[in-house]
Amino acid sequence: MDLSAIDPVILIASLMVASTPILLAATGELIVEKSGVLNLGVEGMMITGAICGFAASVQTGSPALGFLAAIIGGAALSMIFGLLTQVLMSNQVATGLALTLFGLGLSALIGQGYAGMKPPPTRPLDLGVLSDLPVIGKIVFSHDAMVYVSLALVALVWAFLRYTRAGLILRAVGESHEAAHALGYKVVRIRLMAIGFGGAMAGLGGAYLSLIRVPQWTEGMTAGAGWIALALVVFASWRPWRLLLGAYLFGGITVLQLNLQAAGVAVPAEFLSATPYLVTILVLVLMSADRSRAALHAPADLGKTFHASS
């Protein structure tokens, strides 16, 4: 065992990369849940995004087109969920599960023949002087563009929810769809847009996994990342900046356990691999044990079906 082989600078730098997929997916889901919809299909949309992005970028040779395809793929899949839950008023929990099961099958189907291929490489962004700074340069300023995009999206979502009229309407729909409907807002339309955004973000997160983080395609490669993203939204008590904190915490644990495995710590590798899931459960318990906080921030109409009777 050689713990000195773990370089803290590289560790923190790779932490940002490891947390980006779930951060993207969780940011999307945050908007969905703020609108009062619980979409448990994040895992399915992520993996669909992963293969759509991978396939498109291998075919075209462009990672950017890959990410675009992932956005389209994730959003398209989420529209199935939108149609079923918003127009046909099906149970959101069951439909979300169906979306995950379907997404896993569909992605494996599309992904045939892509196993073992290499996607076109994505270069780290060249930030000139900033990237050359000692320590900080390596940790913060030497990543690919998507890492910064994900940070920008968190900021955007925060500002959208806090400062814009549209954000206020979205929250109103999530808190009380009856009241929002009475005020003349199109509940179903607003929720469909939120669901589509959630799908696009989950797809983007999945593509980050298959194009940059891994980078490769294997069946079921998201390995629960979508579920962790869902847990993250609860952890963040539906607030964007806490999402960032949670994602980095989770990314840190993932990277640390991988490094410990590589360093040959005298703990079975399987146990280390299970730690991200165990820590997620632990965090969920801590959050939900605090009754006042959990109840305060959850959208009041989360998961309820809306049917305009008049």
Binding site: L101, A223, G224, I228
Partner: protein, 361 residues
């Protein structure tokens, strides 16, 4: 313009008709999917739904497989349906299935090579307890800390998979296996083997347990106070509270029962058809059982039929893989589609379609 009008109570006709309609629509949509993959859609549907049962060449092999595959699906789905009815979502049956199998197989491997009548019954108890204990984690977290049972039970699947890998590579590895991962083959340990009860029928103890579970669940839901409380809680949690239902007790019961049944399914699989603990021992029965539970309308008899149908798509899917080179994933997507159609069509059960202009309220 079509308008939806809520029915005062769900339509009985549509409750029974939607699964049938959903299967029919899935066949059509699946045919389109298979055609897009460049396969003959009619042949594919025939191979999946007809040939396993009636083709002279394959039926002798496939028919027993029907019960082998349906057994665990029904067993798990019956357990899940109890919780689903009460709005308690255990979606980690896959994990409980793995832990049940590991507990049961652990007993067998610890007692090996003892030949005694009590080995198999002990394994059954251990398997059920293992699954029960794994489901108690989300149950206790839910009742004590109000932690979301959906996320916890699902995340525990990944933990269980890691434990399975650790066991297959470490503690339970066959000492005479030449270093290959995987345990001793329980089929070759007579006291622990879950053998076919009637030759070439596919009938093993797991299938018997599944039938018993169907009957027990039917009696529970229709004749027992607890079953009434489960149904009441599903329809109106508030009313159930006033009627004196203890919500925490219900969570413990529903998650515990579904965990124990999933654990039993795992045990019967590891000691029977699978034979040994291996890294990829679990085949996703725990997730497919969710589809079975919904397809069977959360009704014990319905689940029995749905389990058989789902088993058919598994076997037919394998056959189509072999005959048409249809990818295995296509069947998974096909099963997911079935659930979509079912959930979508349910609108007809709960709402009435009205044609004509929207009148002014």
């Amino acid at each position: 313009m079509i308008r939806l009008e809520k029915r005062p109570s769900p339509s009985r006709v549509w409750t029974a008709a939607t699964p049938v309609l959903a299967v029919a629509l899935t066949m059509v949509a699946g045919g389109v999917l298979f055609a897009m993959l460049g396969k003959d859609p009619v042949a594919a549907i025939r191979i999946i739904f007809w040939d396993p049962l009636f083709n002279e060449q394959f039926a002798s092999y496939s028919r027993p497989q029907l019960l082998v595959k349906a057994g665990p699906l029904i067993l798990i789905a019956i357990g899940l349906s109890l919780g689903f009815r009460a709005g308690i979502w255990n979606i980690g049956a896959e994990g409980q299935y793995i832990i049940g199998a590991l507990s049961g197989a652990g007993v067998a491997l610890a007692l090996y090579p003892l030949e005694a009548w009590f080995v198999f019954p002990l394994m059954v108890i251990a398997g059920g307890l293992g699954g029960w204990a794994w489901a108690m984690i989300p149950a206790i977290l839910k009742t004590r800390f109000r932690t979301n049972e959906i996320l916890v039970s699902l995340l525990l699947v990944y933990v269980a998979e890691q434990i399975l890998a650790a066991m297959a590579l470490g503690l339970m590895r066959n000492p005479e296996g030449g270093g290959f991962p995987g345990s001793r083959n329980l089929q070759q340990y007579p006291a622990a083997a879950n053998t076919e009860l009637i030759a070439n029928s596919g009938m093993h103890w797991g299938v018997v347990a599944a039938f018993v579970a169907v009957i027990a669940a039917y009696v529970l839901l229709n004749r027992h106070m607890l079953g009434f409380q489960i149904r009441l809680t599903g329809q109106s949690p508030r009313a159930a509270r006033f009627a004196g239902v203890n919500p925490n007790g219900l969570v413990l019961f529903c998650l515990g029962a579904s965990g124990a049944l999933a654990g039993l399914a795992g045990l019967f699989e590891v000691s029977g058809p699978a034979g040994q603990v291996s890294i990829d021992f679990n085949q996703g029965y725990g997730f497919t059982a969710i589809i079975v539970a919904f397809l069977g309308r959360l009704n014990p008899v319905g689940i029995l039929l749905a389990g058989l149908l789902m088993a058919l798509t598994y076997i037919g899917g394998e056959l189509a893989q072999f005959m048409l080179n249809l990818p295995a994933a296509a069947i998974q997507a096909f099963q997911g589609m079935l659930l979509f159609f079912l959930l979508g069509l349910d609108v007809l059960t709960n709402y009435r379609l009205r044609w004509g202009k929207r009148e002014i309220a």
